[in-house]
């Protein structure tokens, strides 16, 4: 869990998973990769395992697994899926692709 909040632009992300299923693990790694690439440290991730905390499923109204919740900045956004479709995730989180994230153009070195 990376704790690296910097200023008001920081994203507060919560990922709900259920146990150590492949899908859950994939979602976690996809999220980490995505954040590292596009958010430049302006984020905070919490991974909540509903198997360990089942009551949270009801309290936070979680149905699908995995679910990613962006609680900050408002409005709250919920995204479901293993986060393999990066473009969608970015749209869902309302993140502009980092400028340095030019589609991997092989640089002529």
């Amino acid at each position: 869990m990376k704790k690296n909040s910097k200023g008001s632009k920081a994203l507060d992300l919560r990922l709900y998973v259920a146990g150590q299923t492949p899908r859950s693990l994939a979602a976690i790694s996809n999220l980490k990769a995505l954040c590292e690439e596009h958010l430049d440290g302006h984020y905070h991730i919490d991974v909540i395992d509903l198997v360990k905390n089942p009551t949270l499923a009801k309290d936070h109204q979680i149905l699908a697994i995995p679910t990613l919740v962006r609680s900050l900045p408002v409005p709250i956004r919920k995204i479901i899926g293993d986060l393999s479709d990066t473009a969608r995730v970015l749209v869902g989180l309302d993140i502009r692709a980092a400028n340095k994230k030019r589609p991997a153009k092989p640089k002529a070195r």
């Binding site: 509903l50 009551t55 499923a57 149905l63 697994i65 995995p66 956004r77 899926g81």
Partner: protein, 570 residues
């Protein structure tokens, strides 16, 4: 060589276990309740009562059968649900507090969701498991899972998850009810019945002639015999009630006991004893012929015996009826106070036929009367076809017979029509038929009564005049003479005439007797006189003969004297 015989495996045939719903009538038509440990779909149009059924199933399970339940609502919030069922006397919050019910509201706003890859609904399962664990639930209700279809666009995943869900529920032996909207031409809009095929119940709510009618049908119930017809049901302040079509088998036991009709003169016409207990009596007549009065006498007689009577009035209010009965000397107040007389009144146009039937069923169950009076039964015709009414009345009478209740049904016949043809043709179903008829003669209308039929007894076939006096009903044999039946003042006149004639004859006889008496006396006097004469004659004869004797004696004595004197002189 050792003979090896295959071990015989005897499979125990276990019947499908059922979970009782506690819903009146539903357990009858399903043969015991919903399939235990399996899922039942309740489908139907909006507002037909699906949610109500599911909730009642849960609540009664928790309260009556010690099976806590989980309610997962996908459309309404628990507060909304609690308010909706509060009017039925179900306190959801209280049950939740007592850990008998777990309420979970699943809300996912569609706009929040974006598919970014593969997912499943494990969150739902986790919540469900948690809920089941919290209260030790045996029953689950999901209302309505279809809401997920509008939330999640990926129907492939959704359907796979549904399949998993129902397997999951089955594995844990949870008796589940799910509600689903009826589709166009299909049972459910999203075809859920594919995954749930153990039991499907279809609810219907239709409006006919401005009257709403609810119907329930068990479309499918795997592995068991169930009623396959459409059953009417209603939802009232005690919950849901299903009206099972009472099996119209003629299996009733017949009683030989008799009950008085309340009018001694009428009892006389019925072999002196009255109606058979448990029989059905049809009382028909034109308006104003005294039917309600006779019915009231019967009710009174019932209460006097210490039995309960249920009076169902479909024309007059209770107050009006009681006031009218007071004028003929029947007071129901003391019986009401003793809890023996129950009067319920409502208009036939208020409900559909099944509702009437159901209401009467419920009243009878509550009151447990030995006699029931329905006054009148002919009002039903106004808002339904004659055949439907007849069918309903047949079921009603069947129900009464099955319960051993003596039923008195009052029927109004339109004047002018053949009185022997009742409007609804149920006369053949009644055991006793009493006809009240008006006879018009000499500018008067007088009431007459006769017993058209009474099965199982030698009833009188006389026509009697029906008079209401202030000390009860009197049935006077009508005068049937050369001029026909005379009633009323004609009868009185005729009776007076007869009395006069009788008096005249009497007087004549008296006079004749007197005359002959006098004659006899006269003759006797004559005889006396003759006898006197005879007597004196006899005395005269006797006198003469005595004198003769005396003379002869003297003559002889003289001769002797003479002889003596002659001899002496010699």
């Amino acid at each position: 060589m050792v003979k090896r015989s295959k071990p015989v495996v005897v499979q125990k045939l276990t019947a499908l276990e059922k979970a009782r719903s506690g819903i009146r009538g539903l357990d009858d038509i399903t043969g015991g309740g919903l399939p235990k440990g399996r899922t039942t779909i309740v489908c139907g149009g909006p507002g037909c009562g699906k949610t109500m059924l599911g909730i009642e199933f849960l609540v009664r399970g928790a309260l009556e059968f010690n099976e806590p339940g989980v309610l997962m609502a996908f459309e309404e919030t628990p507060d909304e649900m609690a308010t909706n069922v509060a009017s039925l006397g179900f306190d959801l919050e209280d049950l939740a507090a007592k850990k008998k019910l777990f309420l979970d509201y699943v809300f996912v706003e569609p706009s929040e969701i974006q598919d970014t890859g593969d997912f499943d609904l494990e969150g739902l399962f986790i919540r469900l498991q948690n809920a089941v664990n919290e209260v030790g639930a045996k029953r689950v209700m999901l209302d309505t899972v279809e809401a997920l279809f509008s939330t999640f666009s990926n129907s492939r995943i959704l359907r796979a998850e549904f399949r998993r869900l129902f397997r999951w529920l089955k594995e844990r032996g949870l008796t589940t009810v799910i509600t689903a909207e009826k589709g166009d031409g299909t049972l459910t809009r999203y075809g859920l019945e594919e995954y749930v095929s153990d039991c499907v119940i279809l609810l219907d709510h239709r409006v006919k002639d401005q009257i709403s009618a609810r119907r329930m049908r068990i479309v499918k119930y795997r592995g068991t015999k169930h009623g396959a017809d459409e059953y009417p049901f209603l939802i009232d302040e005690q919950g849901m009630s299903v009206l099972p079509l009472t099996s119209l088998k003629l299996h009733h036991a017949a009683s030989s006991e008799r009950v008085s009709s309340g009018v001694p003169a009428l009892d006389e016409m019925l072999e002196g004893e009255g109606y058979f207990r448990g029989s059905s009596v049809l009382l028909s007549g034109t308006a104003g012929s005294g039917k309600t009065t006779l019915a009231a006498y019967f009710a009174d007689a019932t209460c006097r015996r210490g039995e309960r009577c249920l009076y169902i009035g479909l024309e007059e209010s209770a107050g009006q009826n009681m006031r009218n009965m007071k004028s003929v000397g029947i007071d129901f107040e003391p019986w009401i106070a003793k809890g023996l007389f129950f009067h319920e009144a409502w208009r036939p146009t208020q409900f559909g036929l099944e509702m009437h039937l159901l209401r009467i069923h419920k009243l009878v169950e509550k009151v447990k009367p030995t006699t029931v009076i329905v006054d009148p039964i002919t009002n039903f015709v106004s808002n339904s076809s004659g055949q439907e009414v007849e069918s309903m009345l047949m079921r009603l009478m069947d129900f009464f017979k099955g319960a051993g209740i003596t039923a008195l049904l009052v029927s109004l016949t339109r004047g002018g029509a053949l009185l022997e043809r009742t409007e609804v043709g149920i006369s053949s179903l009644a055991d006793t038929w009493i006809l009240l008829r008006d006879i018009e003669l000499n500018g008067e209308r007088n009431r007459c009564l006769y017993v058209l039929k009474s099965r199982g007894m030698a009833h009188s076939n006389q026509l009697r005049e029906f008079i209401m006096t202030d000390h009860g009903i009197e049935l006077i044999p009508a005068y049937v003479g050369s001029s026909g039946v005379l009633t009323g003042s004609s009868r009185v006149a005729q009776e007076a005439k007869e009395r006069a004639e009788a008096a005249a004859r009497e007087w004549e006889i008296q006079w004749k007797l007197q005359e002959s008496d006098q004659k006899r006396l006269a003759l006797q006097a004559q005889i006396a006189a003759l006898q006197a004469e005879l007597g004196s004659e006899e005395r005269a004869i006797e006198q003469v003969s005595r004198e003769n004797r005396d003379r002869e004696n003297q003559a002889e004595r003289d001769r002797n004297e003479m002889a003596k004197s002659r001899r002496a002189a010699d």
